[in-house]
């Protein structure tokens, strides 16, 4: 039974954050639709409160998510009180919001057609489009349609003009936006508005599109729009049902894969961390960051998840993107990249926006772009190694790049860095960074031993790997608290220590890891059983990904299978009604915190389910299987 009530029941229960600003939907009230180029967030009341066109990191055209007054939105909502039930059409990213009132009920369907869909190959297609359709399925229901776009993160008012039967149009910079509606809309000073009563069987159709490279394509709002929805459903279902996973929690795994697919930028293969900026990690606080970029850190987990679910094309595209993106800086790596592999923009604050629930400042760009985080080298090398052991071919260029990363690690692994949690308080000798430097050396040695890395100084990598191992065992182990610690010679813990087993550095069932796990539970577990990532003065939510790591650690041998299931079950209580997760979970209310939905959490969830499934089948985690088992798995995957 979900801890949080769904939208229809929520009116009876208010969380502290709702009391602060009752006009704000909770973060987990949102669903996502997208076309693998951009995404929109749709609230439970049918309001699109976030949209950036033409790509994830472009300025917004709807940003009520960050400022209710000036951000802009497009809502199609019942005029009176109504209960709400939402779902994605099974195994698809087509969102259905079902409104129930005393007078009748209606279904709102929201989607963004994918340009790559084979159905459209011989057809005109808008560059970017949102399709919305609302149909009354019983009685009658009055709807308010409020279309109030504001360009450039709520900064620039737009001038909407009517062009006869073509619809409403406004331009921003080089781009033209067209809204076509089957209901007549009245242009107001804020946008366009209508109030329409729908009776059983009646429907309204809308198409909102954007074009900046050529004359726009304007689609008719007749029955062909319904056919387009059906084709999109079929295309998504075809993709979703390709997931080669037959273990427990299949629904959660497939939903996570679908969410991950939505966060993929198809033209380059990049996967962004989240489609939003500045949703707070603490309501009313300043832990608000822009996540619309691609972090290399996520690479290893993402590749593994995609490969093991059978999504070879996406895994290969992401690896290609990763190696292309890093080409200009090799052998140095940046922490995060833009969608096309450029340096992420400089961080700026948008002081005129209120922020979600008054959580200021709203930031765009990300200052972590200038940080040193040595763990990314291990993550990139591990991702490539996973790809190779699954049967992927490392071409000469890729081999050279990997050797370059390895040589960089040889020269720099002993440096302090900002580490995985990206604090802005300076550099330290993080255990997690050392672990990933060890991982880089270890994977390169393994690839070299299998003849997959010509010309690599394997012996040197082996020596460095031993040196790093010794340093971790001697200085990252705290005898007094009987635990590995976050920083060499330190006292503090953080949840990334659980990854010592994931990367194969320490057996999950070893005394040191078991003892570390106990310490982590003692210090980092919240009342609801989920883990904080660390303990700091600035209170934030429990970190969803860390609970995935915990379930995975238990599945890897740190605990019993039942314990792994229990932890996983604890986590899935906190998905929203659509199966989506944010970055963090409020330990008191269970509300989602931080940017939403979060790729890393969904990747972690897939990883945990995979490890549990492998444990049930008596298989080893794929990255650490012996060569014979790996080859067998590879041939199965390939066939």
């Amino acid at each position: 039974m979900p801890l949080r009530p769904n939208v229809s029941e929520r009116s009876a229960e208010t969380s502290p954050s709702q009391k602060v600003a009752s006009s704000w939907p909770e973060i987990h009230d949102y669903g996502i639709i997208g076309d693998c180029r951009s995404a929109a967030l749709v609230s439970g009341s049918g309001s699109i409160d976030w949209l950036c066109w033409p790509r994830f990191d472009a300025p917004s055209i709807f940003a009520a998510l960050l400022d209710r007054e000036r951000g802009g939105r497009w809502s199609i909502s019942p005029a009176g009180p109504a209960n709400v039930k939402r779902q994605y059409i099974p195994d698809s990213n087509i969102l259905e919001t079902h409104f129930f009132s005393s007078s009748g009920s209606a279904i709102l369907t929201d989607m963004m057609p994918g340009a790559a869909n084979a159905f459209y190959r011989n057809d005109f297609l808008p560059d970017h489009e949102i399709i919305r359709k609302v149909i009354c399925d019983s009685g009658e229901l009055e709807f308010d349609i409020d279309f109030s776009p504001v360009a450039d993160y709520g900064r620039t008012k737009v001038q909407i003009r009517e062009f006869g039967k073509l619809g409403l149009r406004f331009t921003v910079g080089r781009g033209a936006y067209w809204l076509r509606s089957s209901a007549p809309l009245l242009i107001t000073d804020k946008g366009a508005h209508a109030r329409v009563v729908l009776r059983r069987g009646e429907s309204l159709r809308f198409s909102f599109s954007y074009s900046e490279e050529a004359p726009a394509v304007l689609r008719p709002l007749d029955l062909s729009l319904d056919a387009r929805i059906d084709h999109s459903v079929a295309a998504w279902q075809q993709w979703g049902r390709r997931a080669s996973y037959d273990g427990a929690y299949r629904n959660e795994v497939v939903r996570s894969a679908l969410a991950l697919k939505l966060l993929t930028y198809a033209p380059s293969g990049a996967i962004i961390a989240a489609p939003t900026t500045s949703l707070p990690e603490r309501i009313g606080g300043d832990l608000n960051w822009d996540y619309r970029y691609c972090w290399l850190r996520d690479a290893s987990f993402t590749i593994r998840a995609l490969l093991e679910l059978g999504y070879w094309d996406e895994a290969e595209d992401f690896l290609d993107w990763m190696l292309q993106a890093t080409r200009l800086t090799q052998p140095k790596l940046r922490i995060l990249y833009s969608l096309y592999g450029d340096k992420a923009p400089v961080e700026r604050e948008l002081a005129y926006l209120s922020g979600y629930c008054e959580s200021r400042p709203v930031r765009i760009g990300n200052a972590a772009r200038d940080q040193l985080q040595l763990d990314v080298y291990g993550e990139v090398v591990d991702a490539a190694a996973q790809f190779a052991v699954h049967g992927g071919k490392l071409d000469r260029e890729m081999q050279k790049a990997l050797i370059g990363f390895g040589n960089y690690v040889v020269r720099n692994w002993d440096q302090p860095d900002e580490g995985i949690w990206e604090p802005r308080s300076g550099r330290e000798n993080h255990t997690h960074s050392r672990l990933l430097c060890w991982t880089a050396m270890d994977r390169l040695v393994r690839l070299g031993e299998r003849g997959m890395l010509r010309g690599a100084p394997i012996e040197r990598y082996r020596q460095e790997s031993n040196l790093i191992r010794r340093q971790i065992e001697e200085r990252a182990w705290n005898e007094q608290i009987q635990s590995y610690v976050s920083v060499l010679d330190g006292q503090e813990l953080d949840a990334s220590l659980l990854l010592l087993s994931w990367y194969g550095f320490a057996e999950a069932g070893s005394p040191r890891m078991r003892s570390t796990y106990q310490a982590i539970r003692q210090q980092l577990a919240s009342a609801n059983g989920l883990l904080f990532r660390y303990r700091k003065e600035k209170i934030e939510g429990t970190f969803a990904l860390c609970s995935c790591w915990e379930a995975e650690y238990l599945a890897l041998g740190g605990g019993s299978l039942a314990e792994a299931h229990d932890r996983f079950a604890d986590l899935i209580k906190y998905k929203n009604d659509l199966g989506l997760y944010g970055e963090e979970i409020d330990p008191t209310t269970g509300a989602a915190l931080g940017n939403f939905p979060q790729a890393f959490t969904h990747v972690g969830l897939i990883g945990a389910a995979l490890s549990i499934s492998q444990r049930e089948k008596g298989e080893q985690q794929l990255a650490h299987r012996p060569p014979a088992a790996t080859q067998q798995a590879t041939s199965q995957v390939r066939s």
């Binding site: 005109f124 073509l166 080089r174 004359p215 726009a216 304007l218 008719p220």
Partner: protein, 159 residues
């Protein structure tokens, strides 16, 4: 009339016209994409439309340059500024008369009167093609002036 000179100057001037139009479009000054608009006369496939449209536009420009050459010969004058003047006149004609006729003659263009349907879905250009961006007329005037100027000066040189 010097046929080889027309062939050469007409071809080079059309190339320059196409390049300028593509550049202004790439710089985001306009969404006017002539190859795409022309190509969609013959196909609905976007990438093919761009390619076919480019070929047709090239051929069209080449043939159209014959009119310029006929004016040069009639006036016994061929130089860059006279060519540019004809180019500006042509641009004015294209933007006013040509664009207003487009929804009627283009088989896939929608109109304000009828809206889009299964066959007609392309955004119409509007007066002076302003629907495709307020700098579209500037882009068209400059490109055609350069087309005419090149034609005038190259035809004169090769004569």
């Amino acid at each position: 009339m010097n046929w080889p000179s027309w062939l050469l100057s007409g071809f080079l001037a059309t190339l320059a016209l196409s390049t300028l139009l593509a550049t202004t479009q790439g710089l985001g000054l306009t969404r006017m994409n002539l190859p795409y608009l022309i190509g969609t006369f013959v196909t609905t496939q976007r990438e093919k439309a761009r390619f076919y449209g480019f070929l047709i536009h090239l051929l069209n420009g080449w043939i159209f340059s014959i009119l310029y050459v006929l004016v040069f010969e009639a006036r016994h004058m061929a130089n860059w500024w006279f060519g540019a003047l004809i180019g500006l006149a042509q641009a004015l004609f294209v933007l006013t008369v040509g664009m207003s006729l487009m929804p009627g003659i283009h088989p896939r263009m929608a109109s304000e009167q009828h809206g889009p349907n299964a066959n007609r879905q392309l955004e119409p250009p509007g007066f002076m093609a302003l629907h495709y961006g307020i700098q579209t007329p500037v882009s068209i005037f400059i490109a055609h002036a350069v087309f005419g100027a090149m034609l005038g000066s190259l035809y004169q040189l090769a004569k």
